[in-house]
């Protein structure tokens, strides 16, 4: 068994081996076949071998070239840098060479120029030298050359000193003999030598001498003037003006010169020196003004009179002073008027002058090369110096005198206007109104023309006091005297037609009363107009005002405008009185008649009244009287006053008629009659009033409506209709019942049951 198994094994192994052998043979054959191919390849490789060696050496070569190029580039860039440096050094050297050559030229030139007395040329050399970079030069020359450089420096510095000495001396000489050409010649040289200050100061002082001379002369001339001379009254304003204009002219002429040779930022020196002289000279003129116009004395007197006047005025009036005194004070006010004109001119001129120099200095600083902060600081410094100068102080003192005298002038003139009040034919107002407002306008215009904001404000305040004081008082006195009635209807206000003397005192007073009302009302209008005109003037008069100044002025103007309120309320009181004394009696008469009348009319009676506009006789009479009275007042009162009077009359009528109506008893026809009359009255008043009068009568109309109903039940319809039409029902339920109870036909329990 075993054997068998072995055999089988051996057989399979053999099979395997022979199979392997076959495979191996096939492979060997394959290998043998490819041998030739391999041989070929090997041969090819052998052929390529030298080329590989070539590539390798080429690569090495390339590497070398790149490295070389890089180092070359680096080298070049370094060279370029060196070149640049060299170039700038060359430029600097050239500059130094230039400078040195200039220096040489300057050193030589300054000598020759000085010898030839060509100071402009010499100064130009020195100026060039001063502009050189001396330290730079010293640093670039060697020691040997250095000594010659220092020598040149020394020479030039010495030349500069010499030149300054010469120019100073020659300039002084020129100044002292007023050799205009030389003055200008040397004036221009100072800035070249860096001596701006000295040049400007000396030149300005020289210019001042002319200003001084002119001022002294013109003042002397003014002092020699006699009272008859045409310009005597404003001669000092002329002298002030000449001084200011003189300075302005000097600035005008010399500013271009200073700007050109001294540059911007220097003009303030010239102006400040001129201004200092201006202060000295104007003080002399101001002193002359004080004494020539006796300002202190006049002011003292004026103050005493104004203060005393406000205390004793009322007791003094009537027992008037002697004619001499009146004449005296008249000529005094005239004189003061003239002085005020002169003072306002002076202040205006001064203000103009101050604005001029401030503007010039500001502009000059603005155009300079100074840094902005320095500019602002310098401008502020200049302005603060100016604001505390003698000219400003003296002008403040002048303003003080001005206000004092202007107030006096105003108060005195108004007093006169009050004392000499006259009533002109055909005029609804009196001379007082026109005179007072003519004066106020004159004084305020003058105050505004001074260009002093504080002066203008002060006069606005005084005007306010005057309107609320003297003018109000004068008007109030007349209103308080009342409106006399009696015999009035026959000769209504003949005074307006100019028959003052021929009529009774009473009538005169009536006319005065009416005119006063008109005066007051028109005064309010004038105040508004005046304030409007002054407001419009502000920008022109006070161009340099700060916002604070404007606020101040506006407040004072507003106060003046409000002074009209006090006049208006006085006028209203007066019209109330007028209505009370002239119209109310008529209404009363009418209501009394109404009260005593029978209101239970028969058909016949009712029909009979129809013929006369539906009015009963007393009603007819009333309407006629009322119409006549209202027309008379319309002729003499201002439209606004008249309107107010009609309104008051209407109120009176409703008030009194309502009372009367509620006291009577009516039948239906009586109610209808009342309704008819009321409609007529309302129709009339509506025609003469420019506004709706119906509102005032709504309660009365509703009473008439109720008195007019056919039955009590109709009332409920009326009430609901009214609710729908949104009419305001003025009567309370109690009143409705009260009115209905006046109807004789209606039963009281019916009225009680009524729902309202």
């Amino acid at each position: 068994m075993e054997m068998c198994e072995e055999l089988e094994e051996a057989e399979s192994t053999l099979k395997q081996l022979s199979k392997q052998e076959e495979e191996t043979c096939a492979r060997l054959e394959e290998l043998l076949l490819s041998h030739g191919d391999i041989d070929q390849r090997i041969q090819k490789i052998h052929k390529l071998m030298p080329s590989f060696q070539l590539v390798n050496s080429d690569t090495e070569e390339l590497n070398k070239i790149v490295t070389y190029t890089a180092s070359l580039a680096e080298n070049i860039s370094r060279k370029v840098k060196q070149l640049d440096l060299a170039k700038s050094m060359v430029a600097q050297s050239l500059q130094r060479v230039d400078d040195i050559m200039d220096l040489k030229a300057c050193t030589d030139g300054v000598k020759t120029a000085l010898q030839n007395e060509d100071y402009e040329q010499a100064a130009a050399h020195v100026h060039r030298f001063l502009g050189l970079d001396q330290r730079g030069l010293r640093s670039c020359v060697d020691i040997q050359e250095g000594s010659s450089l220092e020598e040149a420096f020394a020479q030039l510095t010495e030349a500069q000193q010499t030149l300054i000495e010469i120019v100073r001396q020659r300039f002084n000489e020129a100044l002292s003999c007023a050799d205009q050409a030389s003055i200008e010649r040397f004036f221009k040289i100072f800035p070249l030598l860096n001596q701006h200050n000295e040049g400007l100061t000396k030149y300005s002082n020289y210019l001042c001498r002319q200003v001084t001379e002119n001022a002294v002369q013109s003042l002397r001339k003014a002092q020699g003037l006699t009272k008859n001379d045409k310009r005597y009254h404003i001669v000092l304003a002329d002298v002030f003006s000449m001084l200011f204009e003189d300075i302005a002219r000097v600035v005008e002429i010399h500013q271009p010169l200073v700007e050109r040779y001294y540059a911007h930022g220097h003009i303030h020196q010239l102006i400040e020196i001129l201004h200092k002289e201006c202060c000295v000279q104007q003080r002399r003129i101001f002193q002359e003004l004080l004494s020539m116009r006796a300002l202190a004395r006049r002011c003292k007197k004026a103050q005493d009179i104004v203060i005393k006047g406000s205390v004793e005025r009322s007791s003094l009036r009537g027992n008037s002073s002697s004619g001499n005194l009146v004449q005296d004070s008249l000529s005094e006010t005239k004189e003061i008027d003239a002085i005020l004109e002169e003072m306002s001119l002076i202040h205006k001129h001064a203000e103009l002058y101050l604005r001029f120099i401030k503007r010039r200095v500001n502009l000059d600083f603005e155009q300079s090369n100074l840094p902005p902060e320095t500019k602002a600081a310098k401008i502020a410094e200049f302005e603060s110096r100016i604001s505390t100068c003698d000219l400003c102080k003296d002008m403040q003192e002048l303003t003080s005198y001005y206000i004092c005298l202007e107030e006096f002038f105003m108060v005195e003139s108004v007093k006169k206007a009050v004392d000499y009040e006259s009533y002109e034919e055909g005029s609804r107002t009196s001379s007082l109104l026109e005179d007072v407002f003519f004066l106020l306008k004159k004084c305020l215009r003058r105050a505004f023309s001074t260009s002093s904001i504080d002066g203008a404000c002060a006069m606005l305040n005084h005007t306010c006091s005057m309107i609320e004081g003297e003018f109000h008082k004068a008007s109030n006195e007349k209103i308080q005297r009342g409106f006399p009635t009696g015999a009035m209807m026959d000769h209504a206000f003949n005074i307006i037609q100019g028959k003052i003397q021929s009529h009774a005192e009473q009538e005169r007073d009536r006319g005065v009363y009416i005119v006063t009302l008109n005066n007051l009302e028109t005064a309010c209008e004038y105040i508004n107009t005046l304030v409007g005109a002054l407001n419009a003037e502000c920008p022109k008069r006070f161009p340099g005002g700060t916002p604070q100044d404007r606020a101040k002025l506006e407040t004072c103007l507003t106060n003046l405008q409000q002074s009209g309120n006090k006049l208006r309320s006085l006028a209203s009181n007066g019209i109330g009185q007028l209505s009370n004394s002239a119209i109310r009696p008529l209404v009363k008469v009418c209501c009394d008649s109404f009260h005593t009348s029978n209101h239970q009319l028969t058909e016949m009676e009712f029909a009979q009244f129809e013929a006369d506009d539906g009015l009963r006789p007393y009603m007819q009479q009333f309407m006629m009287n009322l119409d006549q009275l209202i027309n008379t007042f319309k002729e003499v009162l201002n439209p606004k006053n008249h309107e107010q009077l009609v309104a008051l009359a209407a109120s009176d009528i409703t008030q009194l008629l309502e009372k009367a109506a509620l006291k009577a008893v009516y039948n239906r026809l009586g109610g209808m009659q009342f309704d008819r009359e009321l409609r007529f009255l309302i129709g009339y008043l509506t025609k003469i009033a420019s506004w709706s009068i119906r509102d005032k009568f709504s309660k009365l109309t509703q009473i008439a409506l109720l008195l007019n109903v056919e039955s009590v039940s109709e009332v409920e319809d009326i009430c609901s209709a009214n609710v729908q039409s949104h009419l305001t029902w003025r009567l309370t339920p109690v009143e409705v019942r009260q009115v209905l109870s006046l109807r004789v036909e209606f039963k009281s329990d019916e009225i009680r049951k009524l729902k309202v």
Binding site: E397, S400, C457, N461
Partner: protein, 202 residues
């Protein structure tokens, strides 16, 4: 239009240098002005305060003390509701001038004007006027009295508040309150232009 119930004019007077401007600045702007120049003429500032719920506008007029501004200053007295008379507690002369100032007030101001005396600069240690002297002066002349320091903001607020308070009470009592004056109607021109005066004004 700003709304305020009452408008009052308050005028400060007294010698130059006593601190009027500083008091007003301290009150209206809350600061102590560093080295400003002397006041020229009159300065004008406004501050609205509240009194018991009502807005009260104070128009404050700060005047210059020197003689040459006197006639400008005086023109404000008449319409003033309150006059505040200031002196410097470290300067006898400013106190000695008070009677002169009082005389001016009596001459020019309304008799109804509220008057106050203020001793300023109490922060200084070189006091010359003891408090009771100032108080005595005020009492004798029937004036409100207070001592202040504009520098240290001492009593400044109190001074003006007290004035506003008193004036408001007075106004309420006498009901001369015009609840905010009407704005000026500048557009309104007179209807009759044939009037001679109007013509001149146009």
């Amino acid at each position: 239009m700003e709304d305020y119930k009452f408008l009052f004019k308050v005028v400060l007077i007294g010698n130059a240098g006593v601190g009027k401007t500083c008091l007003v600045r301290r009150f209206t702007q809350g600061m102590f002005p560093p080295g400003q120049g002397a006041t020229i003429g009159v300065d004008f500032l406004i501050k609205t305060v509240e009194v018991d719920g009502d807005k009260v506008k104070l128009q404050i007029w700060d005047t210059a003390g020197q003689e040459r501004f006197r006639s400008i200053t005086q023109s404000y007295y008449r319409s003033a509701h309150a006059l505040v008379l200031v002196y410097d507690i470290s300067s006898q002369p400013t106190f000695d001038c008070l009677p002169d100032w009082l005389r001016e007030i009596e001459q020019y101001a309304s008799p109804k004007v509220l008057r106050a005396v203020v001793g300023n600069k109490i922060d200084r240690d070189d006091r010359e006027i003891p408090t009771h002297i100032g108080e005595e002066f005020a009492r004798r002349n029937d004036m409100y009295f207070i001592e202040t320091s504009a520098k240290e903001a001492d009593n400044v607020e109190k001074l003006f508040t007290e004035i506003a308070h008193r004036l408001t009470q007075e106004a309420r009592a006498s009901r001369y309150s015009t609840s905010g004056p009407a704005a000026p109607d500048l557009s309104q021109s007179p209807s009759k232009s044939d009037n001679p005066c109007c013509k001149m004004l146009q």
